[in-house]
Symmetry: C2
Subunit: 226 residues, 2 copies
């Protein structure tokens, strides 16, 4: 039912998230962000600092530490989806000229961009890996949260971001969407017809993503040899 969580740890993690989200945060700001008293926030941040998860810059502000970078990079490496998706993103960029993304549902009812490939146009959509995206009113959200879309893909013109059209398709092995491929285009550049063409491409890549039925990373599972 409710969550059996350790409050201290939860708070520390919120703090860590706040620091990472902001990129740089003063103690007071961090405390406010996490709704903690200054003394508690200080203590927790010190712990995070001691373990390398945050560091203080010369002005005393808290910043993400190297441990975060290290663990994140490791995790990204292990994330088989990302490596699997790279070729697909590559192809989408080649075929559409636009930036292509891989995103997955996050734990808190949002989505996260896991990988991207920049488009070739000089005016392109500027987003980035690790960014959270709301599931409401976005193409990615529609395919991640909702059931399988009608034509296999979703087009959202001028959703949360004006002047931008997003085209997304679900990666759903066995029905449930575990990820989304998407292409994001400045709206002025795309017609309804072309959007459908792109949609078909995205849907095709998304469908093909997990079809090669091999066990890709069973090697590193469960402890080491003796």
């Amino acid at each position: 039912m409710a969550e059996s969580s350790t409050r201290t740890v939860e708070r520390a993690l919120v703090l860590l998230g706040a620091v990472c989200d902001a990129g740089s945060l003063s103690l007071a700001d961090a405390a406010r962000e996490a709704e903690l008293s200054a003394s508690t926030a200080l203590r927790l941040l010190r712990t995070l600092e001691g373990t390398g998860f945050v560091r203080r810059d010369p002005l005393g502000a808290y910043r993400p530490g190297l441990r975060v970078v290290q663990l994140g990079a490791q995790a990204l490496g292990h994330e088989s989806l990302v490596s699997l998706a790279e070729p697909a993103l590559e192809r989408l960029v080649r075929q559409t000229g636009e930036s292509a993304y891989l995103s997955v549902p996050s734990h808190d009812g949002e989505g996260v961009y896991l990988a991207m490939r920049e488009g070739t146009h000089s005016v392109r959509h500027a987003s980035w890996i690790g960014r959270s995206i709301p599931l409401d009113g976005t193409a990615v959200g529609a395919v991640l949260a909702g059931g399988p879309p009608a034509g296999g893909f979703v087009v959202v013109r001028d959703g949360i971001e004006a002047d931008v059209t997003a085209i997304a398709a679900p990666v759903s092995p066995g029905g449930r969407a575990v990820a989304a491929l998407s292409v994001v285009v400045p709206s002025y550049r795309i017609t309804a017809v072309e959007a459908r063409r792109f949609g078909a491409l995205v849907a095709q890549e998304a469908a093909a993503l997990l079809t090669p039925p091999d066990a890709h990373d069973t090697a590193t599972t469960r402890g080491e040899p003796a």
Copy 2:
């Protein structure tokens, strides 16, 4: 003096680190790794799970969660060093044909690879972003831990890894090494003369890395507008 740390949080972070290092860990293994009782480990891992820092795979094993990937990717993006170093790594690969790395000292007396560029040779060194490297007996370690090397760079032939020669130079604005650039080559492929040539290249790039005297990322500092 000693560290004023919250034990609970420290333990949880150790657990998180263990899971990320292993890529996949059973509860019992994680508990052993962190030297915790099973019940404590379970409770803490549940907290980490609830916040998205770890997730359980279908077999019940713990794996790094999306939050880790997200925060790590964000941090990597903010890490100005990485973006600054990209062109330098690129150039090193072009000039040497070998894999080039950016690494920084970690909090625990080790180093971490932050960025790399793969070499063009078909036989190349396989390492990866986020990997820890000992500071003893490595070229990177020598420049990160020790003072400024004699010729501006360090060559270590067959250090911890046999058959591999590493050439590293420190990025040290104002004396202290904050990072290292390095090139790693299969030993059979490189002569002493060429090693010196590479060394000069690496040293040159390392020295130039932080010279453009501009404040590169003051923009995102300290909260948002109003």
